[in-house]
Amino acid sequence: MQLTDLTALELGAAIKSRACSVEEAVRASLARIAALDGRIGAFITVCEQEALQEARRVQRGIDDGSLTHPLAGVPMALKDNLSTRGVRTTCGSRMLEGYVPTFDATVVERLRALGAVCVGKTNMDEFAMGSSTETSYFHPTRNPFDPARVPGGSSGGSAAAVAAREVPYALGSDTGGSIRQPASFCGVTGLKPTYGAVSRYGLIAYASSLDQIGPLCRDALDAAAVHAAIAGADARDATSVQAPPLPPLGAPDLAGLCVGIPEEYLGEGLDPQVRARVLDCAQTLRELGAQVERCSMPALRAAIPAYYVLASAEASSNLSRYDGIKYGYRAAPRPDGEEDLTGLYARTRSEGFGREVKRRVLLGTFALCSGYYDAYYAKAQRARALIRASFDEALARFDALLGPTAPTTAFPLGERLDDPLQMYLGDIYTVSVNLAGLPGLSIPCGADAQGLPVGAQLIAAPFGEGTLLRIAAAYQAATGHHRRAPKEVG
Protein backbone atom coordinates (compact mmCIF):
# COMPACT_ATOMS: atom_id res chain seq x y z
CA MET A 1 0.00 0.00 0.00
CA GLN A 2 1.38 3.36 -1.00
CA LEU A 3 0.56 6.64 0.71
CA THR A 4 -0.95 7.88 -2.56
CA ASP A 5 -3.50 5.05 -2.48
CA LEU A 6 -5.03 6.39 0.73
CA THR A 7 -8.10 8.58 0.75
CA ALA A 8 -7.73 12.03 2.28
CA LEU A 9 -9.24 10.99 5.60
CA GLU A 10 -7.13 7.81 5.73
CA LEU A 11 -3.98 9.81 5.02
CA GLY A 12 -4.98 12.41 7.62
CA ALA A 13 -5.44 9.63 10.18
CA ALA A 14 -2.04 8.16 9.28
CA ILE A 15 -0.42 11.56 9.80
CA LYS A 16 -2.23 12.07 13.09
CA SER A 17 -1.14 8.63 14.34
CA ARG A 18 2.47 9.38 13.26
CA ALA A 19 2.34 6.44 10.82
CA CYS A 20 3.75 8.98 8.37
CA SER A 21 4.88 12.58 8.51
CA VAL A 22 3.35 15.48 6.64
CA GLU A 23 6.54 15.77 4.62
CA GLU A 24 6.35 12.10 3.61
CA ALA A 25 2.74 12.55 2.52
CA VAL A 26 3.59 15.69 0.55
CA ARG A 27 6.72 14.12 -0.99
CA ALA A 28 4.71 11.06 -2.03
CA SER A 29 2.25 13.31 -3.82
CA LEU A 30 5.01 15.39 -5.45
CA ALA A 31 6.83 12.22 -6.53
CA ARG A 32 3.72 10.83 -8.16
CA ILE A 33 3.12 14.11 -9.96
CA ALA A 34 6.74 14.07 -11.14
CA ALA A 35 6.35 10.51 -12.38
CA LEU A 36 2.93 10.77 -14.05
CA ASP A 37 2.02 14.29 -14.86
CA GLY A 38 4.11 14.45 -18.01
CA ARG A 39 1.55 12.05 -19.47
CA ILE A 40 -1.57 13.40 -17.71
CA GLY A 41 -1.00 17.14 -17.70
CA ALA A 42 -3.23 17.69 -14.68
CA PHE A 43 -1.16 20.58 -13.36
CA ILE A 44 -0.32 24.05 -14.64
CA THR A 45 1.89 24.89 -11.68
CA VAL A 46 3.45 22.51 -9.16
CA CYS A 47 4.46 24.29 -5.94
CA GLU A 48 7.17 21.93 -4.71
CA GLN A 49 9.16 24.36 -2.58
CA GLU A 50 6.10 26.08 -1.11
CA ALA A 51 4.52 22.70 -0.36
CA LEU A 52 7.58 21.32 1.42
CA GLN A 53 7.94 24.48 3.46
CA GLU A 54 4.26 24.38 4.32
CA ALA A 55 4.60 20.69 5.26
CA ARG A 56 7.13 21.61 7.94
CA ARG A 57 4.91 24.36 9.33
CA VAL A 58 1.90 22.04 9.42
CA GLN A 59 3.93 19.26 11.05
CA ARG A 60 4.90 21.66 13.84
CA GLY A 61 1.23 22.59 14.25
CA ILE A 62 0.22 18.95 14.48
CA ASP A 63 3.05 18.24 16.90
CA ASP A 64 2.17 21.14 19.18
CA GLY A 65 -1.53 20.28 19.05
CA SER A 66 -2.66 23.47 17.33
CA LEU A 67 -3.70 21.62 14.14
CA THR A 68 -6.15 18.81 14.86
CA HIS A 69 -8.39 18.74 11.78
CA PRO A 70 -8.74 15.30 10.12
CA LEU A 71 -7.36 16.84 6.92
CA ALA A 72 -4.32 18.47 8.60
CA GLY A 73 -1.16 17.66 6.69
CA VAL A 74 -2.99 16.12 3.74
CA PRO A 75 -1.76 17.35 0.36
CA MET A 76 -4.28 18.68 -2.11
CA ALA A 77 -4.52 20.60 -5.37
CA LEU A 78 -6.44 23.71 -6.34
CA LYS A 79 -8.05 24.53 -9.66
CA ASP A 80 -6.13 27.38 -11.19
CA ASN A 81 -9.02 29.83 -10.94
CA LEU A 82 -8.74 29.88 -7.12
CA SER A 83 -6.61 32.83 -6.05
CA THR A 84 -3.44 31.87 -4.16
CA ARG A 85 -1.32 34.62 -2.68
CA GLY A 86 2.16 34.55 -4.16
CA VAL A 87 1.42 31.64 -6.50
CA ARG A 88 0.42 32.48 -10.05
CA THR A 89 -3.22 31.89 -10.84
CA THR A 90 -3.78 31.65 -14.58
CA CYS A 91 -7.37 30.50 -15.15
CA GLY A 92 -5.85 28.41 -17.91
CA SER A 93 -5.46 31.59 -19.95
CA ARG A 94 -2.67 33.42 -21.69
CA MET A 95 -4.40 36.52 -20.30
CA LEU A 96 -3.36 35.61 -16.74
CA GLU A 97 -0.22 33.63 -17.55
CA GLY A 98 1.92 35.71 -15.19
CA TYR A 99 -0.75 36.95 -12.77
CA VAL A 100 0.20 36.49 -9.11
CA PRO A 101 -2.67 37.26 -6.71
CA THR A 102 -2.00 39.41 -3.65
CA PHE A 103 -4.59 37.53 -1.60
CA ASP A 104 -5.91 34.02 -0.96
CA ALA A 105 -9.41 32.94 -1.90
CA THR A 106 -11.55 32.31 1.20
CA VAL A 107 -11.57 28.56 0.54
CA VAL A 108 -7.78 28.57 0.29
CA GLU A 109 -7.53 30.53 3.52
CA ARG A 110 -9.82 28.04 5.24
CA LEU A 111 -7.95 25.00 4.02
CA ARG A 112 -4.55 26.50 4.86
CA ALA A 113 -5.81 27.36 8.36
CA LEU A 114 -6.65 23.75 9.11
CA GLY A 115 -3.31 22.50 7.82
CA ALA A 116 -4.03 21.43 4.25
CA VAL A 117 -0.96 21.58 2.00
CA CYS A 118 -1.39 22.76 -1.58
CA VAL A 119 0.98 20.96 -3.96
CA GLY A 120 -0.13 22.72 -7.12
CA LYS A 121 -2.63 24.45 -9.33
CA THR A 122 -4.59 22.29 -11.74
CA ASN A 123 -5.33 22.69 -15.39
CA MET A 124 -8.70 23.85 -16.61
CA ASP A 125 -10.57 25.06 -19.62
CA GLU A 126 -9.73 28.71 -20.15
CA PHE A 127 -11.74 30.77 -17.64
CA ALA A 128 -13.68 27.55 -16.88
CA MET A 129 -15.36 27.69 -20.29
CA GLY A 130 -15.40 24.21 -21.68
CA SER A 131 -16.16 20.59 -20.95
CA SER A 132 -12.90 18.94 -21.93
CA THR A 133 -9.95 20.94 -20.50
CA GLU A 134 -8.78 21.27 -24.10
CA THR A 135 -9.33 25.05 -24.19
CA SER A 136 -6.54 25.61 -21.66
CA TYR A 137 -3.87 27.94 -23.05
CA PHE A 138 -1.16 25.72 -21.57
CA HIS A 139 -1.86 22.15 -22.63
CA PRO A 140 -4.74 19.69 -22.67
CA THR A 141 -5.17 17.31 -19.75
CA ARG A 142 -5.56 13.61 -20.54
CA ASN A 143 -7.95 11.17 -18.97
CA PRO A 144 -6.00 8.79 -16.66
CA PHE A 145 -8.31 5.95 -17.78
CA ASP A 146 -7.39 6.55 -21.44
CA PRO A 147 -4.85 9.23 -22.33
CA ALA A 148 -6.35 9.56 -25.81
CA ARG A 149 -9.50 10.89 -24.21
CA VAL A 150 -10.43 14.07 -22.40
CA PRO A 151 -10.84 14.19 -18.62
CA GLY A 152 -13.94 16.35 -18.97
CA GLY A 153 -13.99 19.93 -17.85
CA SER A 154 -13.62 22.53 -16.94
CA SER A 155 -12.11 21.12 -13.70
CA GLY A 156 -10.42 18.38 -15.73
CA GLY A 157 -7.02 18.91 -14.10
CA SER A 158 -8.48 18.46 -10.60
CA ALA A 159 -10.43 15.36 -11.63
CA ALA A 160 -7.47 13.78 -13.42
CA ALA A 161 -5.10 14.55 -10.53
CA VAL A 162 -7.41 12.78 -8.08
CA ALA A 163 -8.11 9.87 -10.44
CA ALA A 164 -4.36 9.39 -11.09
CA ARG A 165 -3.72 9.40 -7.33
CA GLU A 166 -1.50 12.48 -7.65
CA VAL A 167 -3.45 14.07 -4.80
CA PRO A 168 -6.11 12.58 -2.54
CA TYR A 169 -8.45 15.49 -3.23
CA ALA A 170 -8.66 18.73 -5.18
CA LEU A 171 -10.96 21.71 -5.37
CA GLY A 172 -12.76 22.60 -8.55
CA SER A 173 -15.44 25.02 -9.58
CA ASP A 174 -18.76 24.25 -11.21
CA THR A 175 -20.74 26.76 -13.28
CA GLY A 176 -22.61 24.34 -15.53
CA GLY A 177 -21.20 20.95 -14.56
CA SER A 178 -17.48 21.66 -14.33
CA ILE A 179 -16.97 19.56 -11.19
CA ARG A 180 -19.51 16.81 -11.83
CA GLN A 181 -18.81 16.07 -15.50
CA PRO A 182 -15.02 15.62 -15.11
CA ALA A 183 -15.69 13.63 -11.92
CA SER A 184 -17.90 11.40 -14.02
CA PHE A 185 -15.32 11.06 -16.84
CA CYS A 186 -12.46 10.34 -14.40
CA GLY A 187 -14.29 8.04 -11.98
CA VAL A 188 -14.10 10.29 -8.92
CA THR A 189 -16.67 11.74 -6.52
CA GLY A 190 -17.43 15.40 -7.23
CA LEU A 191 -19.72 17.70 -5.24
CA LYS A 192 -21.21 20.93 -6.56
CA PRO A 193 -22.57 22.55 -3.39
CA THR A 194 -25.72 24.67 -3.12
CA TYR A 195 -25.18 28.15 -4.52
CA GLY A 196 -24.06 30.25 -1.55
CA ALA A 197 -22.87 27.34 0.61
CA VAL A 198 -19.22 28.09 -0.19
CA SER A 199 -17.74 31.58 -0.47
CA ARG A 200 -16.76 32.60 -3.99
CA TYR A 201 -14.36 35.27 -2.74
CA GLY A 202 -11.13 34.78 -4.66
CA LEU A 203 -12.66 32.46 -7.26
CA ILE A 204 -11.97 34.18 -10.56
CA ALA A 205 -15.46 34.64 -11.88
CA TYR A 206 -16.91 33.03 -14.97
CA ALA A 207 -20.65 33.46 -14.33
CA SER A 208 -21.26 34.92 -10.91
CA SER A 209 -24.82 33.71 -10.34
CA LEU A 210 -23.89 30.12 -11.22
CA ASP A 211 -20.29 29.60 -10.04
CA GLN A 212 -19.70 27.45 -7.00
CA ILE A 213 -16.55 25.83 -5.55
CA GLY A 214 -16.55 22.19 -4.49
CA PRO A 215 -14.38 19.14 -3.88
CA LEU A 216 -13.31 16.31 -6.19
CA CYS A 217 -12.46 13.29 -4.05
CA ARG A 218 -11.98 9.56 -4.00
CA ASP A 219 -15.19 8.93 -2.05
CA ALA A 220 -18.19 10.54 -0.38
CA LEU A 221 -16.61 10.55 3.10
CA ASP A 222 -13.75 12.69 1.84
CA ALA A 223 -16.18 14.92 -0.06
CA ALA A 224 -18.16 15.47 3.13
CA ALA A 225 -15.03 16.34 5.10
CA VAL A 226 -13.70 18.76 2.49
CA HIS A 227 -17.08 20.37 1.95
CA ALA A 228 -17.53 20.92 5.68
CA ALA A 229 -14.08 22.50 5.79
CA ILE A 230 -14.69 25.05 3.03
CA ALA A 231 -18.40 25.83 3.51
CA GLY A 232 -19.90 28.62 5.56
CA ALA A 233 -20.84 32.28 5.35
CA ASP A 234 -18.11 34.75 4.44
CA ALA A 235 -18.41 38.49 5.10
CA ARG A 236 -16.56 39.08 1.81
CA ASP A 237 -19.16 37.30 -0.33
CA ALA A 238 -22.66 38.80 -0.04
CA THR A 239 -24.14 35.73 -1.74
CA SER A 240 -22.72 33.28 0.80
CA VAL A 241 -24.75 31.90 3.67
CA GLN A 242 -24.25 29.77 6.75
CA ALA A 243 -25.85 26.40 6.08
CA PRO A 244 -26.67 24.03 8.90
CA PRO A 245 -23.77 21.62 9.55
CA LEU A 246 -23.75 18.32 7.65
CA PRO A 247 -25.43 15.58 9.64
CA PRO A 248 -23.25 12.48 10.32
CA LEU A 249 -23.43 10.20 7.27
CA GLY A 250 -24.36 7.38 9.65
CA ALA A 251 -26.84 4.74 8.57
CA PRO A 252 -25.66 2.26 5.94
CA ASP A 253 -29.19 1.86 4.56
CA LEU A 254 -31.46 4.29 2.79
CA ALA A 255 -34.78 3.26 4.30
CA GLY A 256 -37.39 5.98 4.08
CA LEU A 257 -35.65 7.90 1.29
CA CYS A 258 -37.53 8.76 -1.88
CA VAL A 259 -35.49 9.16 -5.08
CA GLY A 260 -36.94 10.43 -8.36
CA ILE A 261 -35.61 9.80 -11.87
CA PRO A 262 -36.75 12.52 -14.27
CA GLU A 263 -37.71 11.12 -17.69
CA GLU A 264 -35.86 14.06 -19.23
CA TYR A 265 -32.62 12.57 -17.90
CA LEU A 266 -33.10 9.32 -19.80
CA GLY A 267 -34.17 10.73 -23.16
CA GLU A 268 -32.66 11.18 -26.60
CA GLY A 269 -28.89 11.54 -26.82
CA LEU A 270 -28.11 9.37 -23.83
CA ASP A 271 -25.54 6.63 -24.44
CA PRO A 272 -27.28 3.26 -23.76
CA GLN A 273 -24.36 2.02 -21.66
CA VAL A 274 -24.52 5.11 -19.47
CA ARG A 275 -28.25 4.66 -19.17
CA ALA A 276 -27.80 1.03 -18.12
CA ARG A 277 -25.21 1.88 -15.42
CA VAL A 278 -27.41 4.66 -14.00
CA LEU A 279 -30.40 2.30 -13.84
CA ASP A 280 -28.14 -0.26 -12.12
CA CYS A 281 -27.33 2.44 -9.60
CA ALA A 282 -31.07 3.05 -9.10
CA GLN A 283 -31.52 -0.66 -8.47
CA THR A 284 -28.75 -0.63 -5.86
CA LEU A 285 -30.40 2.31 -4.11
CA ARG A 286 -33.64 0.32 -4.04
CA GLU A 287 -31.80 -2.62 -2.54
CA LEU A 288 -30.45 -0.25 0.12
CA GLY A 289 -34.02 0.61 1.04
CA ALA A 290 -34.77 3.71 -1.00
CA GLN A 291 -37.97 4.09 -2.93
CA VAL A 292 -37.13 5.01 -6.54
CA GLU A 293 -39.72 6.39 -8.96
CA ARG A 294 -39.86 8.01 -12.37
CA CYS A 295 -41.02 11.62 -12.69
CA SER A 296 -41.23 14.28 -15.35
CA MET A 297 -39.74 17.78 -15.48
CA PRO A 298 -40.47 19.22 -18.94
CA ALA A 299 -39.07 22.66 -18.01
CA LEU A 300 -35.56 21.17 -18.12
CA ARG A 301 -35.65 21.29 -21.93
CA ALA A 302 -34.95 25.03 -21.72
CA ALA A 303 -31.88 24.51 -19.55
CA ILE A 304 -29.12 24.50 -22.19
CA PRO A 305 -30.22 27.61 -24.10
CA ALA A 306 -30.99 29.47 -20.86
CA TYR A 307 -27.64 28.48 -19.39
CA TYR A 308 -25.55 29.51 -22.39
CA VAL A 309 -27.30 32.88 -22.63
CA LEU A 310 -27.03 33.71 -18.91
CA ALA A 311 -23.56 32.31 -18.30
CA SER A 312 -22.15 33.98 -21.42
CA ALA A 313 -23.81 37.30 -20.55
CA GLU A 314 -22.33 37.34 -17.06
CA ALA A 315 -19.00 36.19 -18.44
CA SER A 316 -18.90 38.99 -21.01
CA SER A 317 -19.12 41.46 -18.12
CA ASN A 318 -16.84 39.58 -15.72
CA LEU A 319 -14.10 39.23 -18.32
CA SER A 320 -14.19 42.87 -19.43
CA ARG A 321 -11.70 43.77 -16.71
CA TYR A 322 -8.93 42.00 -18.64
CA ASP A 323 -7.77 44.95 -20.69
CA GLY A 324 -3.98 44.97 -20.25
CA ILE A 325 -3.87 47.93 -17.83
CA LYS A 326 -4.00 46.52 -14.29
CA TYR A 327 -2.70 42.96 -14.57
CA GLY A 328 -2.20 40.16 -16.98
CA TYR A 329 -1.35 40.07 -20.64
CA ARG A 330 -0.81 43.28 -22.60
CA ALA A 331 -0.39 43.28 -26.37
CA ALA A 332 2.94 44.60 -27.63
CA PRO A 333 2.98 48.23 -28.71
CA ARG A 334 2.23 48.87 -32.35
CA PRO A 335 5.39 49.07 -34.49
CA ASP A 336 4.51 52.60 -35.62
CA GLY A 337 4.37 53.75 -32.00
CA GLU A 338 0.80 55.03 -32.41
CA GLU A 339 -1.17 53.74 -29.48
CA ASP A 340 -4.81 54.37 -28.87
CA LEU A 341 -6.70 53.05 -25.92
CA THR A 342 -9.39 51.15 -27.80
CA GLY A 343 -6.81 49.57 -30.06
CA LEU A 344 -4.71 48.38 -27.14
CA TYR A 345 -7.78 46.95 -25.41
CA ALA A 346 -8.89 45.08 -28.51
CA ARG A 347 -5.46 43.69 -29.39
CA THR A 348 -4.79 42.67 -25.79
CA ARG A 349 -8.09 40.86 -25.51
CA SER A 350 -7.89 39.25 -28.93
CA GLU A 351 -4.41 37.91 -28.28
CA GLY A 352 -4.96 37.11 -24.59
CA PHE A 353 -8.20 35.13 -24.91
CA GLY A 354 -8.64 31.85 -26.72
CA ARG A 355 -11.38 30.88 -29.17
CA GLU A 356 -13.97 29.50 -26.79
CA VAL A 357 -13.70 32.50 -24.45
CA LYS A 358 -14.11 34.90 -27.37
CA ARG A 359 -17.07 32.88 -28.64
CA ARG A 360 -18.86 33.17 -25.29
CA VAL A 361 -17.92 36.81 -24.78
CA LEU A 362 -19.45 37.60 -28.17
CA LEU A 363 -22.59 35.59 -27.41
CA GLY A 364 -22.94 37.20 -23.98
CA THR A 365 -22.31 40.72 -25.27
CA PHE A 366 -24.95 40.15 -27.91
CA ALA A 367 -27.51 38.85 -25.39
CA LEU A 368 -27.17 42.03 -23.29
CA CYS A 369 -27.39 44.51 -26.18
CA SER A 370 -30.31 46.84 -25.84
CA GLY A 371 -32.18 45.48 -28.86
CA TYR A 372 -31.84 41.85 -27.83
CA TYR A 373 -31.92 41.92 -24.02
CA ASP A 374 -35.60 41.08 -23.65
CA ALA A 375 -35.65 38.32 -26.24
CA TYR A 376 -32.51 36.63 -24.94
CA TYR A 377 -31.28 37.66 -21.50
CA ALA A 378 -34.62 38.42 -19.83
CA LYS A 379 -36.25 35.44 -21.54
CA ALA A 380 -33.48 33.15 -20.27
CA GLN A 381 -33.96 34.55 -16.76
CA ARG A 382 -37.64 33.65 -16.97
CA ALA A 383 -36.78 30.18 -18.22
CA ARG A 384 -34.45 29.93 -15.24
CA ALA A 385 -37.33 30.73 -12.88
CA LEU A 386 -39.42 27.97 -14.50
CA ILE A 387 -36.59 25.47 -14.11
CA ARG A 388 -36.19 26.41 -10.46
CA ALA A 389 -39.95 26.04 -9.90
CA SER A 390 -39.87 22.65 -11.57
CA PHE A 391 -37.09 21.46 -9.23
CA ASP A 392 -38.93 22.91 -6.23
CA GLU A 393 -41.94 20.86 -7.15
CA ALA A 394 -39.99 17.65 -7.78
CA LEU A 395 -37.92 18.02 -4.62
CA ALA A 396 -41.01 18.57 -2.54
CA ARG A 397 -41.94 15.02 -3.58
CA PHE A 398 -38.48 13.40 -3.56
CA ASP A 399 -35.51 13.62 -1.21
CA ALA A 400 -33.20 13.47 -4.19
CA LEU A 401 -33.21 13.11 -7.95
CA LEU A 402 -31.05 10.61 -9.83
CA GLY A 403 -29.79 10.63 -13.39
CA PRO A 404 -26.64 10.46 -15.46
CA THR A 405 -24.05 13.19 -14.98
CA ALA A 406 -23.22 13.31 -18.67
CA PRO A 407 -24.80 11.67 -21.72
CA THR A 408 -21.58 9.86 -22.65
CA THR A 409 -18.34 8.66 -21.16
CA ALA A 410 -15.08 10.48 -21.89
CA PHE A 411 -14.75 11.36 -25.58
CA PRO A 412 -11.54 11.46 -27.64
CA LEU A 413 -9.36 14.56 -27.55
CA GLY A 414 -10.24 16.97 -30.34
CA GLU A 415 -13.59 15.35 -31.15
CA ARG A 416 -15.79 18.30 -30.18
CA LEU A 417 -13.39 21.22 -30.19
CA ASP A 418 -14.69 22.59 -33.48
CA ASP A 419 -18.32 21.94 -32.73
CA PRO A 420 -19.33 24.22 -29.86
CA LEU A 421 -22.97 23.19 -29.93
CA GLN A 422 -22.13 19.50 -29.59
CA MET A 423 -19.82 20.41 -26.70
CA TYR A 424 -22.59 22.43 -25.05
CA LEU A 425 -25.12 19.61 -25.40
CA GLY A 426 -22.84 17.43 -23.27
CA ASP A 427 -23.81 19.66 -20.34
CA ILE A 428 -27.49 18.86 -20.71
CA TYR A 429 -27.84 17.09 -17.34
CA THR A 430 -25.73 19.43 -15.26
CA VAL A 431 -26.52 23.04 -16.19
CA SER A 432 -30.07 23.00 -14.83
CA VAL A 433 -28.71 22.29 -11.35
CA ASN A 434 -26.63 25.48 -11.49
CA LEU A 435 -29.54 27.48 -12.86
CA ALA A 436 -31.62 26.36 -9.88
CA GLY A 437 -28.74 26.82 -7.42
CA LEU A 438 -29.05 23.25 -6.10
CA PRO A 439 -26.41 20.85 -4.79
CA GLY A 440 -25.39 18.09 -7.18
CA LEU A 441 -23.08 15.15 -6.69
CA SER A 442 -21.48 12.85 -9.25
CA ILE A 443 -20.42 9.38 -8.14
CA PRO A 444 -18.80 6.58 -10.13
CA CYS A 445 -21.38 3.86 -10.93
CA GLY A 446 -19.48 1.51 -13.18
CA ALA A 447 -17.86 1.55 -16.58
CA ASP A 448 -18.69 1.19 -20.24
CA ALA A 449 -17.36 -1.61 -22.45
CA GLN A 450 -14.06 0.21 -22.90
CA GLY A 451 -13.58 0.52 -19.17
CA LEU A 452 -14.35 4.23 -19.09
CA PRO A 453 -16.04 5.41 -15.90
CA VAL A 454 -19.72 6.30 -15.83
CA GLY A 455 -21.02 8.86 -13.36
CA ALA A 456 -24.41 9.01 -11.69
CA GLN A 457 -25.69 12.40 -10.62
CA LEU A 458 -27.70 13.02 -7.48
CA ILE A 459 -29.52 16.31 -6.95
CA ALA A 460 -31.15 17.62 -3.77
CA ALA A 461 -33.00 20.68 -2.52
CA PRO A 462 -30.96 23.73 -1.42
CA PHE A 463 -28.57 22.78 1.38
CA GLY A 464 -29.41 19.10 0.92
CA GLU A 465 -25.70 18.18 0.63
CA GLY A 466 -26.17 15.91 3.66
CA THR A 467 -28.79 13.88 1.82
CA LEU A 468 -26.62 13.52 -1.29
CA LEU A 469 -23.56 12.47 0.72
CA ARG A 470 -25.56 10.04 2.80
CA ILE A 471 -26.91 8.30 -0.32
CA ALA A 472 -23.43 8.29 -1.88
CA ALA A 473 -21.77 6.93 1.26
CA ALA A 474 -24.31 4.12 1.55
CA TYR A 475 -23.90 3.33 -2.17
CA GLN A 476 -20.11 3.33 -1.94
CA ALA A 477 -20.20 1.15 1.17
CA ALA A 478 -22.25 -1.37 -0.83
CA THR A 479 -20.33 -1.16 -4.13
CA GLY A 480 -16.72 -0.79 -5.29
CA HIS A 481 -16.98 1.40 -8.41
CA HIS A 482 -15.37 4.38 -6.71
CA ARG A 483 -12.30 2.29 -5.80
CA ARG A 484 -11.45 1.36 -9.37
CA ALA A 485 -8.15 3.00 -10.30
CA PRO A 486 -6.96 3.72 -13.84
CA LYS A 487 -4.59 0.99 -15.01
CA GLU A 488 -2.98 2.93 -17.85
CA VAL A 489 -1.08 5.20 -15.55
CA GLY A 490 -0.62 2.85 -12.64
Binding site: V309, L341, V361, L362, A380, R382, R384
Partner: protein, 95 residues
Protein backbone atom coordinates in the same frame (compact mmCIF):
# COMPACT_ATOMS: atom_id res chain seq x y z
CA UNK B 1 -32.48 35.33 -35.51
CA UNK B 2 -30.49 36.31 -38.59
CA UNK B 3 -26.88 36.99 -37.67
CA UNK B 4 -25.17 39.42 -40.04
CA UNK B 5 -21.54 40.44 -40.46
CA UNK B 6 -22.50 43.92 -39.30
CA UNK B 7 -23.93 42.47 -36.11
CA UNK B 8 -20.80 40.40 -35.50
CA UNK B 9 -18.66 43.49 -36.05
CA UNK B 10 -20.66 45.73 -33.74
CA UNK B 11 -20.77 43.11 -30.99
CA UNK B 12 -17.03 42.48 -31.37
CA UNK B 13 -16.39 46.19 -31.07
CA UNK B 14 -18.55 46.46 -27.94
CA UNK B 15 -16.60 43.53 -26.45
CA UNK B 16 -13.29 45.09 -27.56
CA UNK B 17 -12.29 42.09 -29.64
CA UNK B 18 -10.38 42.39 -32.90
CA UNK B 19 -11.43 39.59 -35.21
CA UNK B 20 -9.47 38.76 -38.33
CA UNK B 21 -11.32 37.67 -41.46
CA UNK B 22 -11.28 33.98 -40.54
CA UNK B 23 -12.40 34.66 -37.00
CA UNK B 24 -15.24 36.84 -38.25
CA UNK B 25 -16.51 34.07 -40.48
CA UNK B 26 -16.17 31.55 -37.66
CA UNK B 27 -17.98 33.87 -35.28
CA UNK B 28 -20.77 34.35 -37.81
CA UNK B 29 -21.12 30.59 -38.24
CA UNK B 30 -20.93 29.80 -34.51
CA UNK B 31 -23.31 32.56 -33.44
CA UNK B 32 -25.79 31.55 -36.13
CA UNK B 33 -25.79 27.94 -34.97
CA UNK B 34 -25.89 28.77 -31.28
CA UNK B 35 -28.62 31.37 -31.67
CA UNK B 36 -30.68 29.03 -33.84
CA UNK B 37 -30.57 26.63 -30.94
CA UNK B 38 -31.13 29.28 -28.30
CA UNK B 39 -34.15 30.58 -30.22
CA UNK B 40 -35.98 27.53 -28.89
CA UNK B 41 -36.44 29.67 -25.80
CA UNK B 42 -38.89 31.88 -27.66
CA UNK B 43 -41.34 28.97 -27.84
CA UNK B 44 -41.38 28.76 -24.05
CA UNK B 45 -44.44 30.26 -22.37
CA UNK B 46 -43.07 32.63 -19.75
CA UNK B 47 -46.10 34.89 -19.35
CA UNK B 48 -46.27 36.20 -15.82
CA UNK B 49 -42.93 34.65 -14.87
CA UNK B 50 -40.57 36.98 -13.00
CA UNK B 51 -36.98 37.01 -14.29
CA UNK B 52 -34.62 35.22 -11.90
CA UNK B 53 -31.27 36.95 -11.32
CA UNK B 54 -30.07 35.12 -8.23
CA UNK B 55 -30.01 31.46 -7.35
CA UNK B 56 -30.52 32.14 -3.65
CA UNK B 57 -33.46 33.98 -2.16
CA UNK B 58 -31.28 36.29 -0.13
CA UNK B 59 -31.89 39.95 0.60
CA UNK B 60 -30.32 42.86 2.47
CA UNK B 61 -26.81 41.55 2.91
CA UNK B 62 -25.01 44.62 4.21
CA UNK B 63 -21.90 45.60 6.08
CA UNK B 64 -21.30 48.31 8.65
CA UNK B 65 -19.54 51.51 7.56
CA UNK B 66 -16.33 50.52 9.37
CA UNK B 67 -13.00 51.18 7.67
CA UNK B 68 -10.31 48.50 7.39
CA UNK B 69 -6.75 48.98 6.19
CA UNK B 70 -6.26 49.26 2.43
CA UNK B 71 -3.48 47.51 0.54
CA UNK B 72 -0.03 48.98 0.06
CA UNK B 73 0.09 50.81 -3.28
CA UNK B 74 2.94 48.58 -4.43
CA UNK B 75 0.70 45.54 -3.97
CA UNK B 76 -2.16 47.21 -5.85
CA UNK B 77 0.26 47.83 -8.72
CA UNK B 78 2.16 44.56 -8.40
CA UNK B 79 0.74 42.96 -11.54
CA UNK B 80 0.51 46.10 -13.66
CA UNK B 81 2.27 45.79 -17.03
CA UNK B 82 3.28 49.45 -16.79
CA UNK B 83 3.21 51.91 -13.89
CA UNK B 84 4.57 55.31 -12.97
CA UNK B 85 4.60 57.36 -9.76
CA UNK B 86 2.22 54.99 -7.99
CA UNK B 87 -0.25 54.98 -10.88
CA UNK B 88 -1.30 52.55 -13.58
CA UNK B 89 -0.19 53.73 -17.00
CA UNK B 90 -2.51 53.50 -19.98
CA UNK B 91 -2.47 54.90 -23.50
CA UNK B 92 -3.77 58.45 -23.65
CA UNK B 93 -7.47 58.41 -22.82
CA UNK B 94 -9.28 60.76 -25.18
CA UNK B 95 -12.02 63.11 -24.09
Amino acid sequence: MKVTRELVDSVAHLARLDLDAAEREAALRDLTRILDYVDALSALDTDGVQPMSHALRLQNVLRADEPAPSMAAQDVLQNAPERKDGCFLAPRAVE
